[in-house]
Assembly symmetry: C3
Homo-oligomer: 298 residues x 3
Amino acid sequence: MKDVISVLDFTKTEILQIFELTDKLLTGQFKPNLKGKIIANAFFEPSTRTALSFASAALSSGGKVLGFASDESTSISKGENLADTIRMLDNYADCIVMRHKLDGSAKFASEIASKPVVNAGDGKREHPTQALIDIYTVRSLFHSVEGLTFGFLGDLRYARTVNSMLRILTLFNPKMVYLISPPQLRARLEILNELNYPFKELSDVRDVINEVDVLYVTRIQRERFLDEDEYEKVKESYRVDLKMIEGMKREAAILHPLPRVSEIDRRIDSTPQAKYFLEASYAVPLRSVLLNEVVSGD
Amino acid sequence: MKDVISVLDFTKTEILQIFELTDKLLTGQFKPNLKGKIIANAFFEPSTRTALSFASAALSSGGKVLGFASDESTSISKGENLADTIRMLDNYADCIVMRHKLDGSAKFASEIASKPVVNAGDGKREHPTQALIDIYTVRSLFHSVEGLTFGFLGDLRYARTVNSMLRILTLFNPKMVYLISPPQLRARLEILNELNYPFKELSDVRDVINEVDVLYVTRIQRERFLDEDEYEKVKESYRVDLKMIEGMKREAAILHPLPRVSEIDRRIDSTPQAKYFLEASYAVPLRSVLLNEVVSGD
Amino acid sequence: MKDVISVLDFTKTEILQIFELTDKLLTGQFKPNLKGKIIANAFFEPSTRTALSFASAALSSGGKVLGFASDESTSISKGENLADTIRMLDNYADCIVMRHKLDGSAKFASEIASKPVVNAGDGKREHPTQALIDIYTVRSLFHSVEGLTFGFLGDLRYARTVNSMLRILTLFNPKMVYLISPPQLRARLEILNELNYPFKELSDVRDVINEVDVLYVTRIQRERFLDEDEYEKVKESYRVDLKMIEGMKREAAILHPLPRVSEIDRRIDSTPQAKYFLEASYAVPLRSVLLNEVVSGD
């Protein structure tokens, strides 16, 4: 494996191998080794959570980290093009972890760099390492990912985590996927066209709350709405609270890639279905395993 | 010891043990060991000086560092609550060093985190590691902290370093503490109510300059004044210059937590009483000892 | 060697020794050792490229790095003077790498710091490590630096890289140096007065393009022009494109300290003369050698 650009770069077998290594890391049977290796954390778009989890993954595996947390103070702000910035990082590091707002930028970078590129989220479509963490969480809870019913709630249009999850699920035969969103934030047709499993679009989560095994929630962002009132109304009706999850199976799981703002009521945190903190706890071990796959330590 | 939240979490015996370890570190008889440990430098409020000294303390003890220098580029700016951010850092690091503008935030974080939290300054009241550095400096100069006369000069209302020092002194029987400030910046009643030693409030340092053993100076900040003229007037009369320290004992010490702006004339730097650079030199060793107390290396 | 402040601090012999060590590092015969040493990357003025290359140099040699990427979030923004900030870093690190907008600031810092200071660019005149990288590139291409014809193109007035190169060339007997710039951006008289080799000022590169062995290009910055139209006109006529380099010797080299914006057409990248990416690839090894000269690892 050289690069990690898209969830669809992996076969199901490769994904399960990564999961088994993560299991082993968590039980002390495997230790990733990045000794002597430098990881560049190139966050052209800020993301503390993802950036720091890659940093922790690298450092805890014996690697070193350099990079930037936003493009504001970088040469980018002087007008440098992405290709030149990537060439620079290629000289400075053994692996480039990058986050960028534009679709396809990680792929583009991987074609320029001689070192491996790990996509830490680009554009609206790809966030492969988050999707692996999400699926790993599902597997750890249900033992198998196959045959489950998923509900995706909130912004299904711009959230790269949802788009990555929808596509990685093509490898896992879900029983049914419910796409629950306001009309403005429906999933993109180009994504729906890629899906090989049954799905249904709807707008009210309560119609299916008793059916879903996994409810995947995302933030609805103000900037997606022209009208402030419309935003407030939509936000309110897509907010997960105790009332909304009435009737949810006890063994079902609520996931969220985090950070959350108000889209999950904090009283949900202590319900048995709240699994987003467990999900978050898998970020460092899984990313350690991935970095170890693309860079071998001394 | 799990957390370092307040100066009053320490007994006098514990403080003296920390000082003895710091002595030993400075004479090469002790080496803190943070090998394999990750320290999160979580500066929700910027402070280069404190952040970099913790980084230096961690790195020079074999530890690794990740974190952020302000909350501008963090998930906080996306609206994440502090609890979620702390839970994130708890997954990424072995110890969380945090600076935050709100009183009580380090305590709150320590209740959420499973890993130790070190308060690198929060709100107006607590900056325990700075207070330890300050007292350590006094002890190194006077051999004992007991029975000395202190003068605190400048902003006694908002400066967390002063409030921490006033409270740590309750363990050290000062002979007298003079609180010298403009009326707008007098010490808070809630702090004064905690003091178990003689103190006196006044507004002109010259009334006591010949008496003090330790003059602790802080910056007077423009934003505390509604009126620019008033600020300029106050600033001028609380500026430490050669004239102001006429009559000061030769073996007395001027301390300042730094950074200073104009509140200490640079010509003071070469007087025998100027000890703020010595004080600053103790930041890294003392913080190394403290980190080593809360996190044990491999 | 304690500090690296100016290209003129080096004798030619010392420069050649640095180059030989860099050769050896690149062929695996030499390994810089910064083990246990902390490098402070003090970038009062942002420069991702230079800052990250020093970080990579330090980390790949076993050192550790702390610092800041701009003065916005530092104590400087609270009004601290440079001397106090340098004293702080002197407590925190074994070497201070600094970038600052003011001429003479690195020299000033070196007089205050007990630890070595490496100038990573200050003011308009000095960028010694870049000049060494540039000359090293020339030497690697032409085997010797002596007797070559150089053309400097673009902003010769404010570009510290050009001013450093012009001065380091006083050690290398160039055959001729052409200074090609718009009238507003001509080289400074004080620099020209230092030169001990033949040079000529002109405004059209095409008059000498067939003669130059090395064409050193720099960015022309908008803020140097009062008039936007004037800027656009100048920028256009100093832009290196395929037409402009017609007649250039095949074995000639185009250098650029990077980042570039539009001053070199990307189609130039695939010409045999384009050597700026090679030049960039020498940044980390040469800076590793330099850091190793001023700081010895454990």
